[in-house]
């Protein structure tokens, strides 16, 4: 019962708000916020639910083929459900303050409810087709929310970009699902696929096994995660998605939706483990994303963009951990044994809290500085906004990985897996990323909160209202304590056991922290403009420019050729030519219908004569 309540409540709220906001007026917002609070309470009960795979609604049933709306209940979905509903609720409450003066509040809250519905669907999905349906729905709600201020050209562009970029990934995801669909006789149930890959007809030593096929399927499925979790080379949409309202960035583009890719990868980890090549590629892509995004983050001046690149980098970490776990498992190196813990899911869990909090904190700052986002126009906010400062600082040090905050444990788990995977590159790149993370987060904290206010807006900033501070404070508590067993166990986080004997990992993460934070303090203390100026990083490695050239050179040319072919074959041969023939014939026969009675009579007479001639003279000769 819980599962259907959790799934349907946000749907009803979204429908009520989006369809009936004219009648509901102010109540629309309350419905949305209320439904998020009720879902959160339901999710608390859901944490105690038994492992199960419940069919909620038979959706497609054709012959042997069945797809249902199912709820796959296990530790992973219970834990994720808590994250989604908890952060969702806090963001709803925060939005009450942040969006207070917005004209289109009902549209905002309706789309937020729609997002909660879609995200719940992904988390509960028991088969890949259901996951794909909700995967598309989160894409839609993300599009709606990024483009909430669609009057602004940049927001309209950003939502389009996000949608189109995700389309590439989703297409790969769909092909991957179809490959598995074909290989497993039309059964895409996650449990059944898992057993097919571990002990069924798709296991590596089964007759007819094809390593290439498994790798292709794994990579296609991974492409879905590349799009949704904004991995290199489809990462370009996430920073632009910051055009959306800040609470949306916190919920969708930091804590939940972008993590859906990682969640899905962990769901299909049997597939990744089955293919060594795919595991290496996945770990490699995650590693490249983590490193590149961290480098880009060091030179951004927009507070939300720094956090966006930081999110990219942390998502890269999680994806790298997914690949590294599979690699370690292939080497027979299974340090966790039967423990269901997974470093990627654990990092997702801790990251969700502190990153959502950092975004909400940046929202509070932007709100207080009258929608100023440039960190060099802030400064000195520590005195004006003490609560925001303290929570933001907690989030920062959690993200940097300062022990004993939550980020330290999960980051160490990820680095530990990279170390175990047998690939030095992963581990070194992970450590460098950790140092860069410490560097850019310290830079952000110093430039925003310390020194003197550099503009009037920063000078007159005041603390945000209570509805905005409360979620910050709650999330700050979680940022500190979420990695400890006292919270992680009841919240069903997939916490991997602490691996003993990895002194190297501990040492590397502490050195990275000190080097990064120390460097940032040394460089940025008391500065009023950026002392470091690296064009390559500030311009995001010119990815957007490269892509626009690719689009211009390849896509536009291709489109030109295809248009030409269409004009000649479809328009010309198939459509225009028959039309012309028919038109000519019509014109010729129209000549017969002159409207002159005598003409008709003449034709009639001629016809009679012709018939008489045929009957009397021609037919007898032919033997009739």
């Amino acid at each position: 019962m819980h599962a259907s309540i959790i799934l349907l409540l946000p749907l009803f709220s979204a429908l009520a708000v989006l369809l009936g906001h004219r009648q509901l007026k102010g109540a629309a917002v309350l419905i949305s916020v209320g439904s998020s609070i009720i879902s959160f309470v339901a999710c608390l009960f859901f944490l105690a639910a038994d492992d199960d795979n419940k069919l909620l609604l038979p959706f497609i049933h054709v012959g042997q083929f069945q797809v249902g709306i199912e709820a796959l209940i296990d530790q992973q979905s219970r834990g994720m459900m808590f994250i989604v509903s908890f952060i969702g609720m806090l963001v709803h409450i925060f939005s009450l303050g942040y969006m207070k003066d917005d004209d289109a509040k009902p549209r905002f809250f309706g789309a937020l409810s729609l997002f909660m519905f879609s995200m719940t669907g992904i988390v509960l999905a028991g088969n890949l087709i259901m996951m794909f349906i909700f995967w598309e729905l989160v894409g839609l709600s993300s599009y709606l929310l990024i483009g909430h201020w669609y009057q602004k050209a940049s927001a309209a562009e950003a939502c389009k970009k996000a949608f189109l970029t995700n389309r590439i990934g989703d297409f790969g995801f769909m092909i991957g699902i179809l490959l598995l669909f074909g290989a497993n006789g039309g059964n895409v149930n996650l449990d059944d696929l898992g057993s097919a890959f571990t002990s069924g007809p798709l296991r590596p030593d089964a007759p007819g096994y094809s390593a290439g096929f498994t790798t292709a399927a794994a990579l296609c499925i991974f492409l879905g995660a590349v799009g949704k979790s904004a991995q290199f080379p489809l990462h370009v949409w996430l920073p632009d998605a910051m055009e959306g309202p800040t609470p949306v960035s916190a919920l969708i583009h930091a804590a939940t939706m972008v993590a859906a890719g990682v969640y899905m990868l962990v769901r299909v980890s049997f597939l990744i483990t089955a293919s060594p090549l795919a595991a290496e590629i996945i770990a490699g892509i995650g590693c490249v994303t983590a490193l590149l995004a961290a480098l880009m983050a060091t030179q951004q001046n927009d507070i939300k963009r720094v956090l966006a690149y930081s999110t990219l980098s942390q998502l890269g970490y999680m994806v790298m951990a997914v690949g590294a776990v599979a690699m370690a498992a292939q080497h027979g190196h299974d340090p966790h044994g039967p423990n269901p813990g997974h470093p990627a899911m654990f990092h997702l869990y801790t990251h969700a809290f502190f990153k959502a909090m950092l975004f909400l904190g940046s929202g509070a700052i932007i709100y207080a500085c009258h929608h100023e986002q440039d960190i060099w126009k802030m400064g000195g906010l520590r005195k004006h906004m003490p609560v925001t400062f303290w929570t933001f600082a907690i989030g920062t040090i959690a993200l940097m990985g300062v022990p004993p905050l939550s980020g330290f444990w999960s980051k160490e788990a990820v680095l530990g897996t990279a170390y175990d995977s047998g690939s030095n590159i992963l581990f070194h790149a992970g450590s460098i990323t950790a140092a860069l993370t410490a560097f850019y987060m310290t830079r952000l904290l110093i430039v925003t909160f310390f020194g003197k206010p550099r503009t009037d807006a920063a000078h007159h900033a005041t603390e945000a209202p209570m509805v905005m501070i409360l979620p910050l404070a709650v999330l700050a508590l979680f940022s500190i304590f979420s990695a400890f067993d006292v919270l992680a166990t009841p919240l069903q986080a997939l916490k991997p056991p602490h691996v003993e004997g990895h002194q190297t990992v501990l040492f590397a993460s502490l050195v990275a922290l000190i080097v990064g934070a120390g460097g940032a303090i040394y460089l940025y203390r008391g500065k009023t403009s950026d002392p470091v100026n690296i064009k390559l990083f500030a311009n995001k490695f010119y990815f957007d420019e490269i892509y626009s050239v690719i689009v211009r050179v390849c896509q536009d040319r291709l489109a030109w050729i295809v248009t030409g072919l269409e004009r000649v074959f479809v328009d010309g041969l198939i459509a225009r030519l028959p039309t012309a023939i028919i038109a000519r014939l019509g014109a010729a026969t129209r000549m017969l219908q002159g409207g002159h009675l005598q003409g008709y009579t003449f034709l009639l007479g001629g016809g009679v004569i012709a018939v008489v001639y045929l009957v009397v003279f021609v037919l007898p000769r032919l033997g009739h």
Partner: protein, 105 residues
């Protein structure tokens, strides 16, 4: 000796004349008269057939009764047709067939 052939030739000539008039003449009343001539040609042929097809020593009256039907129907047709011509004249102020081209496609 006048045979069936003579009747039929006269009938055919009448019909051809009538058809030629229908096709060639412009005045709708003349066209109408030519139509009547074509009907008369058919009647003549029927009477000829009746005269030369003896049943028990008498002419075949089936054909002649058909002629009476034709004459009756033709009378009715004249009534309707002339009414149409009058109505046409009222709208077009002309009895020229060329002025009626409503059926043009």
């Amino acid at each position: 000796m006048i045979t069936l052939g003579h009747y039929l030739v006269v009938s055919g000539m009448l019909f051809a004349l009538g058809l030629a008039g229908v096709i060639a003449r412009r005045n709708i009343l003349i066209v109408y008269m030519c139509l009547e001539m074509m009907l008369s040609a058919a009647n003549l042929a029927l009477v000829g057939f009746s005269r030369f097809h003896l049943v028990n020593g008498l002419p075949d009256y089936t054909a002649q009764s058909l002629v009476f039907f034709t004459i009756t129907v033709a009378a009715a047709e004249v009534a309707v047709g002339l009414a149409i011509i009058v109505a046409l004249f009222r709208t077009k102020q002309s009895v020229d067939v060329e002025s009626v081209t409503k059926l043009q496609g």
